[in-house]
């Protein structure tokens, strides 16, 4: 007779010293793991709840300006520096790590219209209502030294915006006309004009260094190629666009923040309709910025909220608001894709996390794995009603909620009316309105 019984040698199963990690033998036999689906669902439910528990996006505010802030600029070679220009002509440089102002200059007599860093980040340029372009050193002045501009150029026309080309040594300003400058010269190299009205924003394409986009007050968006003699394309929407941002990863994609509460993403090659309409704001959208990955957009609005839109999705995944934050004037997405900084009317800059429940600081591999696992669970179960509603719900102030409801009703009303009109007219006489192109007035 030969008999063998199950015997487990404790040495094989227990750790040798208390400093070791516990030994965890695994057996993936499904019979030993009953109720897989309900248990996984429970974990997903916990994960999504915890995600909302840890959603504390507001990190802090930077105060010091004595007038509303009009523009923001991020330094290309440093994650911790940001410049802000105010309506009283003051420019401040901030260190985001210490959350302190590192430098402050009274740059212009009136409102600052644009601030932008040079490629190397050692200088920055500003334009104001006093028709001058001024260049400044980024480093704070030595003790006793007076802060003076490195260079000052007086323009013949009013200037409302400035942008540096990412690759070539040129910069552009906008206003009544769009001008291309070289740093070594006091006169513009080229100037462009299309239409009578002046432009508010000018932005160089980050991938294609010769392409410029501008938003004008006559509701148009105009594109220039600075190698050609004139503008290349022009698009007029039904309402004014306040700002334009290029997708940093796909050179032909851009998004505009429009007065009609929406953001429109366009493909430069096909302007006849928008690729996506980003809805959700309850007032005019004033500013926007792309995440450095090109996958997300942050937008600030007159309704005192920030919204983050995912990729080409219609509705926002996140809404940020605080009680004291007023109308938002500008917003930037930090170059490390982790933070969003916005400037608002009430003289403060606010720093937010780009992903509300993300843990900041060093994450150990085990923790990272656990976080990845819960994210995977949320993704797997996102369409389950309970998980979906927890994941999507955001508490918003009552005025936003009311406005959203009103907008929803009016949108439904339009849709209903359109359907009725089609139903009661001769078939074929009325074509259904295409949402993605109905706001386009003309394209040239």
């Amino acid at each position: 007779m030969k008999v063998k019984c199950l015997v487990r040698n404790p040495d094989d199963y227990l750790r040798e010293t208390t400093r070791d990690i516990h030994k965890l033998p695994r057996n993936y036999d499904p019979n030993l793991h009953p109720l897989e689906a309900p248990r996984e669902y429970t974990r997903a439910l916990n994960a999504v709840k915890l995600d909302r528990v840890f959603a504390k996006p507001f990190l802090g505010s930077l105060d010091g300006h004595t007038e509303g802030i009009s523009v923001l600029a991020k330094r290309p070679d440093s994650l911790s520096t940001i410049a802000s220009g105010a309506f009283d002509g003051e420019i401040r440089l901030w260190n985001l790590v210490t959350r302190k102002c590192i430098k402050s200059v009274q740059a212009h007599e009136n409102c600052i219209r644009g601030v932008v860093f040079t490629k190397d980040g050692e200088r920055f340029a500003s334009v104001g209502d006093d028709k001058t372009i001024k260049f400044w050193k980024t480093d704070p002045p030595a003790a006793g030294e007076q802060e003076r501009p490195l260079k000052s150029i007086v323009s013949k026309v009013l200037l409302t915006g400035i942008t540096f080309s990412p690759k070539i040594e040129k910069f552009a300003t906008c206003g009544e006309i769009c001008q291309i400058w070289e740093e070594s010269r006091d006169e513009p190299v080229r100037s462009f004009k299309w239409g009578m009205d002046s432009a508010d924003t000018v932005v160089f394409n980050p991938v294609e260094p010769h392409i410029l986009g501008t938003c004008a007050q006559d509701r148009s968006i105009t594109f220039y190629d600075i190698r050609e003699s004139g503008p290349i394309k022009k698009l007029t929407l039904s309402m004014r666009s306040n700002q334009l941002a290029w997708n940093p990863m796909e050179s032909f994609m851009y998004t505009v923040a429009n007065e009609d509460f929406n953001l429109y993403s366009f493909d430069l090659r096909y302007l006849s309709s928008a690729v996506t309409i980003h809805r959700g704001h309850t007032s005019a959208v004033t500013c926007l910025d792309y995440s450095p990955t090109g996958l997300e957009i942050v937008s600030g609005s007159y309704d005192r909220t920030l919204r983050i839109f995912e990729g080409q999705k219609q509705f926002s995944r996140e809404i940020y608001h605080t009680k004291r934050m007023q109308r938002i004037t500008d917003v930037v997405w930090s170059s490390d894709d982790k933070y969003v900084i916005n400037a608002s009317d009430e003289m403060n800059l606010r720093i937010w996390k780009a992903r509300a429940s993300e843990k900041l600081g060093i994450i150990r591999p085990r923790e990272k794995r656990a976080l990845n696992y819960s994210q995977a669970l949320i993704n797997k179960y996102e369409l389950f009603p309970k998980i979906r509603s927890i994941n999507r719900h955001r508490h918003v102030p009552r005025y936003i909620n009311t406005a959203q409801m009103k907008m929803k009703y009016s949108h439904q009303k339009e849709k209903r009316k359109e359907a009725n009109r089609i139903a009661h007219s001769k078939p074929g006489t009325i074509a259904p309105v295409d949402d993605k192109s109905k706001f386009i007035v003309s394209k040239q």
Binding site: M1, K4, N9, D12, Y13, L24, P25, N31, R39
Partner: protein, 580 residues
């Protein structure tokens, strides 16, 4: 089964149970290899199962691993695959890509888990008889003389005077709880024989049950259910659970289920201390109860020969199946939730497939009335008659006529049976105490430490408790098929037909319309407007409905048309015959 080589023939009788087996042919059968491969240092011999071993150098496999056998893959299956043709028929390119990627991932997961079998270190026990020996005639003393010292200590007798005893092992098989009818309750670590507590509750004890950990247990006493901690301190007296006969615990739901003399079935959430559901069945005393570990459904045996299955979400039973023509005496469900064994007072054992609710798979006439039945993790079945316990190797008692695998005679009459999880041990509660006997090959050799760990330390236990509380499954999810949760809810054929029939028989809805109060115009004008609008809307509704009805009729007509028609030729004989 999968571990063919493992349970098979041993070549050497090492007593520590970690013997090395030799490759029977001494030849490398590996298809991709040319040179003789150095023997793996590991105890495992994988030459018989080449799919288990892929040599890796610098993080890359040296060659493409041979495919995993189908029967092994089936064990780890993640459900049916989407057929390639169906994926190819997708219109959207993105969807097609997504589906293909998902399929690939699932396949990878299945294969990897199957290949991970190589990491299982322990092999199950076995009993190999010599010529002329019959295993059922082997006494425990003979078996003990042939096993190693550690295993020998696992056979023991406790002579106690408060019987008959009820027995319960914890989920990891490390701790034992016994409760004597005359009030004696003892909890101990039966491996080290360390006593946690021993009390006499001075009352009748009808059943004992561990809760989620070895720190708490419940006893069904004369009137009420009491909860004690592992020091024997009474934590709770649950007066809502009255005259309870049987207790069982659903570890993933944290539900203590009790069935009582007055036909009351109650689910108590022990993490919240709330009664989830209490149902009066009106089916007589409920003294036969077991739960299905696969889905958490509670099964009850009744006097009229039926077995009913209950979930706290439904007023009526989920299933009621007539299992016997005589009262059901005992009921046992295997740990995978596949089989249910029932015995009745007419000396019959029947085995059922409880996933298909099908059977009986086996019907056996027994030599007596079993007092208790139990399934082991590897499928052994134990039956207790008066003072004799018989263990069969499989639910399929094909060997019944040949005789049992192991037979053991106890001093007093047996009152309860339970196999110890992850051990080759059967615990027997008798009138005169408790006996633990060795049944080689009964327990699962390889445990999963994150599920149930017999070697758990205190800190691990604490962490596991928190984790399991976080993963607590809500009682709403107790259904017959828990994996349905992950499936898309496609309306069944019946529902679709019913919806169609409803549309075909639908009436035009009544149309209500109140004209707006406009200042101009009189009541006659208002009435006219009302009439016109109502008529218009009614016409529209009729038109819409008739259009849908026509569409449905056209569809069904086209289906009928597809039937082959008789052409009058010779081939007509192959057409299906017309029903008259």
């Amino acid at each position: 089964m999968v571990n063919k080589g493992k349970a098979g023939k041993p070549s050497s009788g090492h007593k520590n149970g970690r013997d090395q087996r030799k490759n029977p042919k001494g030849k490398n059968k590996f298809p991709g290899m040319r040179k003789e491969r150095p023997k793996p240092k590991d105890d495992m011999d994988v030459d018989n199962e080449p799919w288990k071993k892929v040599p890796v150098r610098k993080g890359k496999p040296l060659f493409n691993p041979p495919p995993v056998p189908k029967d092994v893959l089936d064990k780890y299956t993640r459900g049916e695959r989407l057929p390639q043709q169906e994926i190819a028929s997708f219109r959207s390119k993105t969807l097609k890509k997504k589906a293909l990627r998902a399929e690939k991932k699932i396949q990878w997961a299945e294969e990897t888990t199957a290949r991970a079998e190589v990491l299982l270190t322990e092999e199950s026990g076995f009993l190999q008889t010599d010529e002329g020996e019959v295993s059922k005639y082997l006494t425990q003393k003979q078996i003990v003389a042939n096993v190693d010292i550690t295993s020998a200590t696992k056979y023991f007798n406790l002579d106690l005077d408060f019987g008959p005893y009820r027995v319960d092992y914890t989920r990891n098989g490390r701790h034992l709880l016994i409760g004597g009818r005359r009030g004696h309750v003892a909890a101990f670590d039966w491996v080290t024989k360390r006593l946690h507590c021993e009390i006499n509750v001075m009352e009748e004890v009808k059943d004992v049950q561990w809760l989620h950990l070895e720190t708490m247990f419940a006893t069904a006493q004369k009137n009420w259910v009491h909860v004690y901690d592992n020091c024997g301190v009474e934590l709770h007296c649950l007066k809502q659970l009255q005259k309870v006969l049987r207790l069982t615990f659903l570890p993933h739901h944290f539900l203590l289920v009790s069935s009582s003399e007055n036909s009351q079935l109650t689910w108590l959430d022990v993490s919240m201390g709330e009664i989830i559901k209490s149902t009066a069945l009106k089916k007589g005393p409920l003294n036969v109860m077991a739960h299905n570990p696969y889905n958490g459904v509670v099964c009850l045996g009744h006097l009229n020969g039926t077995v009913s299955m209950w979930s706290p979400n439904q007023k009526k039973s989920l299933v009621s199946m007539l299992c016997h023509k005589a009262p059901v005496e005992t009921l046992a469900i295997d740990s995978a939730g596949k089989y249910m064994a029932t015995t009745s007072v007419n000396q019959e054992l029947r085995v059922w497939d409880i996933r298909m609710l099908d059977g009986p798979l086996g019907k056996y006439r027994l030599r007596g009335n079993p007092v208790d039945t139990s399934f082991s993790q590897r499928g052994c079945v134990a039956l207790a008659f008066n003072n004799v316990v018989e263990v069969y190797k499989q639910w399929n008692l094909g060997s019944y006529k040949k005789g049992a695998y192991i037979v053991h005679e106890t001093l007093g009459n047996v009152s309860s049976l339970e196999f110890c999880p992850y051990e080759d041990i059967l615990g027997i509660g008798t009138k005169k105490g408790f006996v633990s006997i060795i049944v080689p090959g009964a327990g699962e050799p390889n445990f999963d430490a994150l599920e149930a760990n017999p070697m758990q330390t205190k800190s691990q236990r604490r962490e596991a408790e928190v984790k399991s509380l976080l993963d607590k499954v809500q009682p709403e999810m107790i259904v017959l098929e828990p994996s349905k949760l992950l499936e898309v809810n496609v309306p069944g054929l019946q529902d679709r037909i019913r919806a169609k029939v409803e549309i075909l028989h639908a009436k035009v809805p009544k149309i209500e319309f109140t004209p707006r109060n406009k200042k101009r115009g009189n009541t006659a004008r208002k009435a006219r407007v009302k009439r016109i609008v109502k008529q218009d809307r009614k016409e529209a509704a009729v038109k819409e409905l008739s259009a849908i009805q026509k569409k449905i009729l056209a569809e069904s007509a086209s289906e009928e048309k597809k039937k082959p028609q008789a052409s009058g030729g010779a081939l007509d004989r192959f057409l299906p015959k017309q029903k008259r």
